[in-house]
């Protein structure tokens, strides 16, 4: 899913902005072409992604119903809205997983990527941006089906609908950089599974992925404020749900930008250290 097969032809002289944009376009187009070839596999991947929120949805709406209609300010129908938007946000914040990174170092693919005149992060970025196109196409029928099955309730106003694509893209960038950062750990050790597990457990609990943060206990909400996770799930979902007003919206966008800047800086710093350690054998 994360593989980049055809190398991009290196320009002999300058690698200017125009070449850069061409490279993104090529990587993006490649993702689109590659994924549209496998509709069945992609539909299964979609079910694989969708089953998780459906489980949460069922559990929390039955808890809400048993508690007289609402918990944490969410009714059963609003939970349905939350988790259906969740599925769309999930399509967009999908980025190269640390497993993919691990695979690419183990198989020696990274050696070839390092020979290119661009940072390997950039084709990744292009690829995953392009990947959003087939993902959205495959998501649509599922999203409509879930909508019909669970009858959600969402109340966004016009500016919230307009702002949603923006915070959605920012969410992708936050998650992209932090996943990459996690992937970089593979330069130091092979035994990464437990660390990944820890990361995803933290993401599950502190991002709003499991349940809206208001429903979590107070200690978890406090911890979440010090971590990047809520800006990748909770915040964009809440915007489209119509629960974020302007006074909360701008600080939220700023927080997303700040985490992107932080993630980017960390990736740059650690990348420099990582490449120094890297030795390739063969290929």
């Amino acid at each position: 899913m994360s593989e980049l097969a055809t190398p991009i032809k290196p320009e002999p002289r300058r690698f200017g902005l125009r070449n850069m944009l061409t490279m993104y376009a090529v990587a993006a187009r490649q993702a689109i072409i590659e994924q549209l070839q496998y509709p069945a596999a992609n539909m299964m991947f979609m079910v694989h992604i969708l089953i998780e929120p459906v489980i949460y949805l069922v559990v929390w709406s039955s808890v809400a119903t048993s508690q007289g209609g609402a918990i944490g300010g969410y009714t059963a129908a609003e939970f349905a809205g939350y988790y259906i938007i969740w599925t769309l946000v999930r399509q967009f914040n999908l980025a190269i997983g640390p497993q993919g990174f691990h695979w690419r170092i183990k198989e020696g693919r990274l050696a070839a990527e390092l020979l290119r005149p661009v940072h390997p992060l950039l084709p990744d970025l292009g690829y995953y941006l392009g990947y959003k196109v087939p993902q959205t196409i495959y998501w649509l029928p599922m999203g409509i089906l879930l909508w019909l099955l669970f009858k959600p309730e969402i109340n966004p106003v016009a500016w919230q609908i307009a702002a949603f694509p923006v915070v959605l893209m920012l969410a992708f960038f936050v998650r992209f950089f932090f996943m990459w950062l996690l992937g970089l750990v593979c330069f130091w050790t092979e035994r990464v599974d437990a660390l990944f597990e820890l990361y995803f457990a933290a993401e599950l609990l502190f991002s709003g992925r499991l349940v809206p943060l208001e429903v979590m206990p107070t200690w978890a909400q406090n911890v979440a404020n010090f971590l990047p996770f809520q800006w990748t799930f909770y915040f964009p979902i809440e915007v489209l749900l119509g629960r974020v007003d302007l006074p909360e919206f701008w600080p939220g966008v700023l927080a997303q930008l700040a985490w992107i800047a932080g993630g980017y800086t960390l990736v740059r710093m650690i990348w420099k250290l990582a490449v120094k350690r890297f030795t390739a054998v063969g290929s």
Partner: protein, 262 residues
């Protein structure tokens, strides 16, 4: 009948000898399993901070469901899944031909080859969770209960084996089967909760298509005294049918298989 068991014992010994060379993996698995167990327990506690009853299951009973889920994940993860991945890899790489030329039955051979022993950590953790749940429920131990639980657990495992093998057999025809396997593994996650809480369409799928209901909920029902003799008989019948159908499809698949290497 004895031969497959002997074969399993032999392969298990090889796997164990292989794996104990890497003892650090054991501690990492303990760490990883404890993390995911901890996360699961936090989720349960968040649910129960709002209500004391989910679809008719009390907190202690839900803990029992979760215990069975962890136990079953460990059993499947150590005994069944690694074999399926190896089998699919063999088909892709053309190595299955070597298995087919061996005198023993090929289905038996590909099913018992690998034991991922460190995943048995989950079996231990699942048993501990179950122990705590049983104490909290104040259950009276009885032979019927123990028998019903063990029987439903084994049948659940056999059913999951059938479904996973059926999915792997598809690799005779298709290249990207791993997405299907991933999908089934994430659907299995639905077993963390009793299937009764899901809407009808989903519950039917979780019962007959991917038998999460039989694998996790039914053993938990056996433990909590919800199992009727009719349900036990029905589970037995379904298991036998699934085994026979899987066997037939395996043979049919093999007839359609033409070696990729050699």
């Amino acid at each position: 009948m004895l031969k497959p068991i002997k074969l399993f014992g032999l392969f298990a010994r090889i796997s164990i000898l292989n794996e104990v060379q890497y003892r650090a993996n054991f501690f990492l698995q303990v760490l990883q399993s404890s993390l995911s167990l901890g996360t699961g327990l936090i989720v349960l506690s968040v649910v129960y901070s709002y209500t004391d009853n989910l679809g008719g299951w009390s907190q202690a009973e839900l803990l029992a469901v979760y215990g069975v889920f962890v136990l079953m994940s460990g059993l499947i993860g150590s005994l069944v899944l690694p074999n399926m991945w190896a089998f699919m890899e063999d088909v892709r790489e053309g190595r299955l031909d070597f298995t087919l030329t061996k005198p023993e039955d090929a289905q038996v051979l590909i099913s018992v080859r690998v034991v991922a022993i460190w995943r048995l950590v989950d079996v231990v953790l699942g048993l501990i969770v179950l122990g705590v749940a049983i104490t909290r429920m104040g259950l009276e131990a009885s032979w019927w209960l123990a028998f019903a639980f063990a029987a439903t657990l084994i049948m659940g495992m056999v059913l999951l084996y059938c479904v996973l093998l059926l999915a792997s057999i598809l690799s005779f025809w298709f290249v990207r089967v791993w997405e299907l396997m991933e999908m089934m593994q994430s659907i299995f996650q639905a077993g963390r909760w009793p299937v009764g809480i899901y809407p009808d369409w989903l519950r039917l799928g979780l019962t007959y298509l991917i038998p999460v209901a039989f694998a996790v909920t039914v053993p938990a029902e056996a433990l909590t005294g919800r199992l009727t003799p009719e349900l036990l008989a029905g589970t037995l019948l379904f298991t036998i049918v699934a085994l026979v159908v899987t066997r037939l499809i395996w043979k049919w698949g093999l007839r359609n298989y033409s070696g990729a290497s050699a």
